[in-house]
Subunit: 375 residues, 4 copies
């Protein structure tokens, strides 16, 4: 059981500190404007030159000095008009109140208690504007952003958005598995993914459609040939072929088929991926634990610029739970920035923000142009 | 251990069925166009008038008749050119192949194996267009859509989007807890939520800001008074007050403060909520297990229209995992439609689609107007 | 928007039904013993020969007939002494109350509203006794239970428990990936997994230990040789080698090394797995989405007994969230029975119950013997 | 975009460092025993007095010096016999290799890259022996361990285990909500929880059973009276009443009933909880976000011993996902130790380990006694 020492109050910073100041509560259940807000850590309040610990410590409350000279931690709602309430924001003793944060939190806490210090949480805001700006800048300076995606991306609208990113030059290489290509191609040929329509309904006979799509591409010989032959007419793989964006489809034991383009040997597949990770200047990992961690394994945490300087390799990891991002960090990909959301929603909003960023850079001209181009 | 009977093949539907048809594989690893795609269920193939079960059954494969007259289930990649492959899509025996689905799946399966039959899954597409249309129609016909939200909604952009829905007449009543209002008001006064900035950084001194926000409203006496006094100048609660949208803030043991408007007694709080649930014609439950299930408890599954007819009460439940929606259904709110995503992304895209729907209905005029109004 | 019809109350079952019975509430907030407990579905109560819908419908409440002859749904706590409360358990109209369940829930509901109908939920009890019994019976009749596991299994105590199952004849074949073997062997050589000690501490220099373990086995040539040479002295792989339990280690793009025994080609790996799945009479899938779904793809839903009869292939899927099990079912492995828990806890309790089952079958003699053997 | 400086290699620690040592690979794909295992961080290797960065950096690989004097990071499997491979474990430059960890990870990393540094993860082992020892010690020294539980605890075997902890003096106070008591009492009277049997089957008529249980207790007047009257004959609440363990049942808007003992006012409920949290010397929070965070809000992070010394207040938080524990920490309960598992499995194993600990302390006598007492 961890134990802690009290601070050494004979040290100058404590010995020279003033007594804490107290102000009367202006009304029942209302605290003075500058009330000291407590934490759950050991707290010392200087009264009459003595450092004392208030009784009944808890967070989010006030420190009250009662008539008997006793200090209490009290919820604001329980404070009565006129009670003497400690005031001040400083927690370092300089205003007569000291929170012994380092004892519990270590030096990393910088002597201060804070909320929301976890690294990955769905409760944190997602800064799409920043991600869009990084992506646009990567395109402008000729960077090499690699996209690593799972099959969730193919469902419904996300497929159109991913296609848009490929067509518009934001994807230097696509790293994925057999399933991404299979469902993308199934969608092009049959309008379904895993036999499910774009609105999520299972179709009659649908369980075989991905197998029929695979069979057609196997008959054609490759995805590129199936595009040439007009079998695949739209979607992500179609965009990769027609825009000459390289893709690596790596095999797994889950694969149906697989498609002819799949690198089925895991070692050869790692080598194929690495040809892109060594060039990567940014990585976007979406809805895949397997491929994200595989990529994280071979991705440096940094980019060496042509002038020899170093910068962090921007790595965005999108998943519907915190788990994959934490796992990626636990495997050493410390630089990963986690976005906890649904892949299709991520793609849609990211595209929206990229369009806004482009529009802003073009002085408003981008959208009109893009809209025209889209028709 | 569940056991199953073979079908009675003397029944007319089987006795009169034709033999299965076989076609040669056109190339190594390529199946004939109309190949029968297998499932993992007991499967019977009629050959020479006899119903036989192929060996080595598995899903996503083909049925091959070998030279010895034996039937095998074989992956497409293992089929060699010229091998005889069963063809046909029917699974009911009418083309000589019968899948005994009802044995395993019961009658609910309608005799057919399908993928993606789970009720709630992040892997299903989200039909924002449909939700937007329902919401706009509710507004048009004077429905009573209730919004039930957790504090995740307040972070960052979602706060602006929720405010927009309140201001634009899509919210008949807001049901929430103390925390939603606290963080919304903290954001209005200090620009933070739980001491975290809009970009997710913890601020120095931030842990006390929500307590200071609460204290200011307690001093003012109520949220409405704090709006009047210019303490709260924007956000969700501000919009509710200024647009006269009723809100119910119900208390919980987690509450800091609480704010003066909070109904702290759980029984009185249920009564306050029920005054809105009995009028509800639609319910949108976002990022809250507690409030969603509480609302589900008191919400009928149906709406009785003025003419006495019945319709389902459209109930959308948004959460970052399947668990809350499944739990809500397990507690009897069968009509709930689950959307598995991040609350802030949901709000942003839903608003976008509602704007599009309004624009479409206004013949394109809405957006210009809205854009003008927003400035 | 789905709409519903009222039942046809001229049908004999309704026309001949009695009026509902009412009894006075015995005290404020207390209902008569046999009160009718409401649901959120359309409900009709026969009063004076007329079928009426009570007002303010909600679940978990009572039906009260007021002095004006009006019916209300009221929470028990709001019912006052003497108020007339509907009694009866039947929901089919036979006691004068009809719940129109089929309108909403379809015929699958068998006309009845039930809680906890989801297929997979952490809120459901786990029947370890049943699983233990099935496993012991499999061993007794010479079945072929295959175990498919992820690396979470190797941490800490679970490794010892898995080893026990291998050593005691409960594992016909082990299907796993490189990581399971790597961390098991790292544990044998260095006492760590991913450089983390058995109590979860990261060790200094630990990040390289799994690479050093791999290197030693590569130097030895195979896992079996490393066992022979005394490099690997305990654990799961050691038990497989010494007890001649076949294992298939399949490769993936995440693999470090890999170990010499790994089948790196995904297609060859599927073939290697299938040699076991075609013989399987039971499957236990633990803490792995990739391998579980891969196995599900090639596993029939049924076992054909030597006498030609069919039974369900008992398939247990253990994961820490509902997601993997639901996904497995969504991919067609309908027979999977989900256990939502931590893999190491699962293993420990399952072993405990298997020991109890063996003990019971041995008339109490097993444990003493096992305890003796273990020392 | 974060950028980093190269280290100052003129500093004495670098200037005085030796060149890195290299050894030949003993065979194709096999590294020398003491190979340096790479990370994904900027790495500098001293060759000929110069610090150079190897090309194609990635983790889990080796550093190879080619014939041209160029350094490469290479996976072990790609190293050929005789290639010169860097050896050494030190990452601080003292053996000629420097990993610039502080640039990326800050000082908290202590200059070293480690796996598994996240605070809460299902991938970490659970130390039941330690928790059992703490709990037994708390009982021995007369501590005040509070248990805070959600309704998941009541299902099936966990109910028996919780009852055992109450009966055996490990529970100073039980803090829970209405649902825990309702389902515990439903189980005592009807053998079901939420109408579901101990094996997880929904029962006919089951949806009303919890309401009938509530009604019986309301008729009796209190849980204690219902125990006296023989209505409640076993289980958790029965044990609390008969063993005089205080319990606080706090109300929420989700409550059915509620039971007469429930403190429905959230503010009064917090006060009731606080009477126990101020005395707490240990806290065990199981399967409840609401109650865990509420308790965390009012719990100090430390215990003041009678002699004035401080120790951490041991706080165990059990949940089926990392989310609740991370949230608890994000709300300031830094001392919480997370156990990610199913509540019923946790209870079962914890009890098993407590029994073992007691047995060990009693020199083996406890179990026999306990077994006798249990009959």
């Amino acid at each position: 059981m961890t134990t802690f020492s009290h601070p050494d109050f004979s040290a100058p910073r404590f010995a020279n500190a003033p007594d804490a100041r107290f102000e009367p509560a202006p009304a029942d259940g209302v605290l003075p404007e500058r009330f000291f807000s407590t934490t759950n850590l050991p707290t010392y309040v200087r009264v009459g030159g003595e450092w004392q610990m208030p009784r009944e410590p808890r967070m989010d409350s006030a420190v009250v000095l009662d008539a008997a000279g006793e200090l209490w931690v009290k919820e604001g709602r329980r404070v009565r008009k006129g009670e003497r309430v400690a005031v001040g924001h400083a927690e370092d003793g300089s205003e007569g109140i000291y929170v012994h944060a380092s004892a519990f939190l270590g030096d990393a806490a910088e002597g201060e208690f804070k909320f929301m210090t976890s690294e990955v949480s769905r409760e944190k805001p997602i800064d799409y504007a920043l991600m869009a700006r990084i992506l646009v800048e990567e395109r402008e300076r000729g960077g090499y952003p690699i996209w690593v995606t799972g099959p969730a991306l193919v469902h419904s609208r996300a497929r159109a958005d991913m296609t848009w990113f490929v067509e518009n030059g934001f994807v230097a290489a696509l790293l994925a598995g057999n399933a991404v290509a299979v469902h993308d191609i199934e969608a092009s040929i049959y309008g379904t993914t895993l036999g499910m329509t774009g609105s999520g309904e299972a179709t009659s006979g649908g369980h075989g459609l991905h197998m029929r799509a695979i069979n057609k591409v196997r008959a054609a010989g490759s995805i590129a040939r199936a595009v040439e032959q007009g079998i695949i007419t739209d979607g992500i793989m179609h965009a990769c072929v027609t825009h000459e964006v390289p893709f690596v489809l790596t095999g797994s034991i889950r694969d149906d088929g697989p498609l002819p383009d799949v690198v089925t040997d895991a070692v050869a597949a790692q080598d194929a991926m690495k040809r892109h990770t060594t060039k990567a200047t940014m990585a976007i990992l979406i809805a895949t634990a397997l491929h994200a961690i595989a990529t994280g394994n071979m991705l440096p945490a940094f980019v060496t610029e042509p002038d020899g300087s170093l910068r962090e390799l921007a790595t965005i990891c999108v998943d519907s739970s915190e788990f994959v991002v934490s796992k990626l960090k636990d495997r050493g990909t410390h630089q990963a920035f986690g976005v906890v959301t649904n892949a299709q929603d991520f793609m849609h909003i990211l595209r929206l923000y990229v369009e806004r960023e482009l529009d802003a850079r073009a002085g408003g001209g981008f959208r009109a142009e893009a809209a025209a181009a889209a028709r």
